[in-house]
């Protein structure tokens, strides 16, 4: 078949070694930026660290054969939601660099809670799930995803569209109503 012939001309996806390297690259990027989100005191820096985390997670989606999701992550999350957040930062602060420091006691509680949950989660993961990984029969395509989304999940899909509409109107109303009262 012509098409198969053309298909041979397309190179194979990177082998396991390369994808392992990529995984560690993205994982370290994601983890380090997440730590940055926690530790950074400047809210604008926090947002930038969050952007790196989101991008690295998109990279992980690529490695997990979820290309569409990766694209959505980049476009909607990194491109849309984060920009929204940054707008929020700009609109709610006369000087974005201003810092609100937490109290010592709160920091102690936060560290305790974080350590407890981290240990619990890691123990659960290591003990509960065997390390082997099932291989996929074939690479899932966007067509498969589309079938699932508009087949089994049609009603949730429609509901969530309505929800988005409601949210849009609601957010616009919330953000605007106060200003109208403020300036009679």
């Amino acid at each position: 078949m012509m098409i198969q012939l053309l298909a041979q001309t397309t190179p194979q996806p990177p082998d396991a070694g390369a994808s392992a390297v990529l995984f560690y690259l993205f994982a370290i990027l994601a983890g380090a930026s997440a730590l940055g989100v926690v530790l950074s005191r400047n809210i604008v820096r926090t947002a930038v660290f969050l952007l790196f985390t989101l991008t690295a997670v998109a990279g992980l989606y690529f490695l997990l054969d979820a290309e569409f999701l990766a694209a959505v992550q980049l476009v909607v999350y990194a491109g849309g939601t984060l920009v929204l957040i940054i707008f929020g930062v700009m609109l709610t602060s006369k000087s974005p660099g201003i810092r609100y420091e937490p109290k010592i006691g709160e920091v102690a509680v936060a560290i305790g809670v974080s350590v407890v949950s981290a240990v619990a989660l890691v123990m659960a993961i290591v003990r509960q799930f065997p390390a082997n990984s099932a291989s996929v029969e074939r690479h899932p395509t966007i067509a498969d995803l589309g079938q699932t989304l508009l087949g089994d999940y049609l009603i949730p899909f429609e509901l969530i569209s309505v929800l988005l509409l409601v949210v849009m109107i609601g957010a616009a109303y919330l953000a605007k109503a106060r200003r109208r009262e403020g300036r009679p």
Partner: protein
């Protein structure tokens, strides 16, 4: 590189997701800026998403009875989560804007009028 490290499997993704989750928790607790708290929520949602997609990839994505379709429920849920995150961010920011207009600050410590 040991085989354990070279062979990236479900574990690796789950542990990374756990890390993201914990970072999200810590962010929510430490930030006094309301938008910082929102960012912590975003981190937690992302951790959940990594879990969903990883489970889908390693546990669930098998051909369903030769019908040609793969089970991609995990990815679908991840998409829903992303949409909900966007919706949540929009509403939350609208609320923060209102808050800011009332209190001229974004420090959540100041918003204590709801106390009983």
């Amino acid at each position: 590189m040991t085989p354990m490290l070279a062979q990236v499997g479900l574990h690796h993704y789950l542990i990374l997701a756990a890390m993201l989750f914990v970072c999200g928790l810590a962010t929510m607790m430490l930030k006094r800026n309301a938008i910082g708290i929102l960012m912590g929520v975003e981190l937690i949602l992302n951790a959940a998403n990594v879990n969903l997609v990883a489970f889908n990839r390693f546990r669930f994505a098998v051909d369903a009875g030769g019908t040609g379709g793969l089970r991609l429920d995990g990815q679908v849920f991840a998409i829903f989560v992303i949409i909900l995150a966007a919706a949540e961010a929009a509403v939350a920011l609208a609320i923060f804007l209102s808050f800011y207009n009332n209190f001229t600050t974004i420090d959540v410590e100041r918003g204590t009028q709801l106390k009983g």
